[in-house]
Symmetry: C2
Amino acid sequence: MSKQFISIKELALALNLSTSTVSRAFRNKDDIHPDTKKLILEKAKELGYYPNIYASNLRNSKSRTIAVIMPELANNFFSLAVKGIERVAQLNGYHTLIYVTDSLYEKEVEIIEDLYNGRVEGIIMSASGEGNDHRYINKLKSKNIPLVFFDRVYDDTDYPKVTTDDYESCFKAADYLLDNGCKTLAFLVIDKNVSIGNARMKGFEDACAKHNLPEDNALIIDCSNDFDESSSRIRQLLKTRKIDAIIASVERLAVAAYTVCLNENIKIPEDIKLISYSNLSIAHLLNPPLSTIAQPAENLGVNAAEILFDILKGLEPTNKNVILKSDIIQRKSTQFFR
Amino acid sequence: MSKQFISIKELALALNLSTSTVSRAFRNKDDIHPDTKKLILEKAKELGYYPNIYASNLRNSKSRTIAVIMPELANNFFSLAVKGIERVAQLNGYHTLIYVTDSLYEKEVEIIEDLYNGRVEGIIMSASGEGNDHRYINKLKSKNIPLVFFDRVYDDTDYPKVTTDDYESCFKAADYLLDNGCKTLAFLVIDKNVSIGNARMKGFEDACAKHNLPEDNALIIDCSNDFDESSSRIRQLLKTRKIDAIIASVERLAVAAYTVCLNENIKIPEDIKLISYSNLSIAHLLNPPLSTIAQPAENLGVNAAEILFDILKGLEPTNKNVILKSDIIQRKSTQFFR
DNA sequence: CTGTTAGCGCTTTCAA
DNA sequence: TTGAAAGCGCTAACAG
């Protein structure tokens, strides 16, 4: 069996050239005669030579690799975001490592610490924790590893952030429901302490305050990532009180709410309105069609990646705090009848 | 500003030890005195030393990295599969690179060729092309880079494959519809030449044959990844013929079919039955609830990853052709009335 | 335009 | 149990 990899030395030998000349053939400078370059490239192909990237990374301390760290992946929002990131990375000739934390803060810490060694040139992250101690992230600075947040951010860090207008979109959604006569609203949230949960909740609260809704009619319902747990919370709520409308801060909770309403024979939108943050492409096919606050997920990823590559190219990003607009799409689940 | 990374040399110097001793402290062998090891580890922490992985990769030709290559990512099936793969990789202490081809065969070739240099120790792939010329894949063998296919495979290669029972599940689905009296069936497919499209189509055809359906009543409809194109194909079909049931070979086509039926006021399941391969977790919330053939997506990823890691550990996989069962879940979209 | 040479940071014999 | 030394494959400064 032939050798697994041939080295630059062997290629040089086969061509009766020095390794440096051969090396030059693989870079885009004009410090080599075109004919020589051609010769080398041909021979390389013939012999199946590929530069060993680990040797070259070692020399240059450049890995042409970035990392994406996020709470979950199997989900419309995150998979779209990663798609956007990966595309930009490919365009820049970079490779993309992904890491899923399963929403576990400790895993996030572990993963970041595993990147201190210079495996990647930069990191794009959606945060998994509320976390107060962000030293493990700030330590990246001393290693010159830039980081860009998207969607779920740590507000107390000064890394660039790409988010959506969480406060405004939720305010608008609630405002709309209240304008149309809803008197009791419930806001379903998974974690009030994470950036987006908090911003959305504030938007909700402020809209309710604007309409002078008694606090008891503006309910914040703490749910979780567990479907059954959230469902039973919601079921209990709907059984004990008449709620006019629900705003779900994440898609998963809208699904739980739908399912509860279906089982309990509560009619959407007749008995209750429902709107949710969601990137479902088939919201219009649900029963009833779901009103959504749709984040530009892929674009969020693209923007975050572009900022990161700007930094890697040595450019200061013009805007370290990009806020993209979400689309509120009213469908039948928030229809009013007069 | 302090140095970005400190090297083993500097750490050794600080401890008045040799680099080889320091190096030993970071491996799990008993060729170093426990006390010395402890001392080194402590000092390393204090000084923020992390072994440079590129130097160590170079020495060992081991990158502890695998690649996942797939046609798309923003999709329930693939994001679940990747989730499974990434989890197994993390458990094995490996890193996961992802590459999305956008269903472009040429991109797949490019990506694979970019991995000839040894960047990864192994590859897990769902194929993007029908492709006849798979030399670029077989070339991985000479580089000792193992590959495992999942879902979309190249049948003419002898790499391990993890797939689902595409033929059987589609046969069963068609059989069920025919048993219940459907006389004209349409099978929506994107590419008859890719492994899964083909296997599913064969299952469909054989079921129709079993029921002696005239060929003209067992329609194969060529669709595409483009929503509008597929929709208009389906619309045309439904306008020109009375179809009793549709089997969609991928989720995307079911969505198109739903939308067409909605727009054309064709009632599911009264006017037409619909069943689709799909990993939608909310199939039961659609209008009407969608009958699905659900592949164990995450498990597919886990199995493929486990086979790859077996190979990397030097074990011959016991089964080079794993076939997992899909779940056929009948919901309202295939309900019959008597 | 090409070659010589040193060295990136680490690991692993081999010798002590 | 530790250290000395060679070398993984590549690149870049320098000399020619």
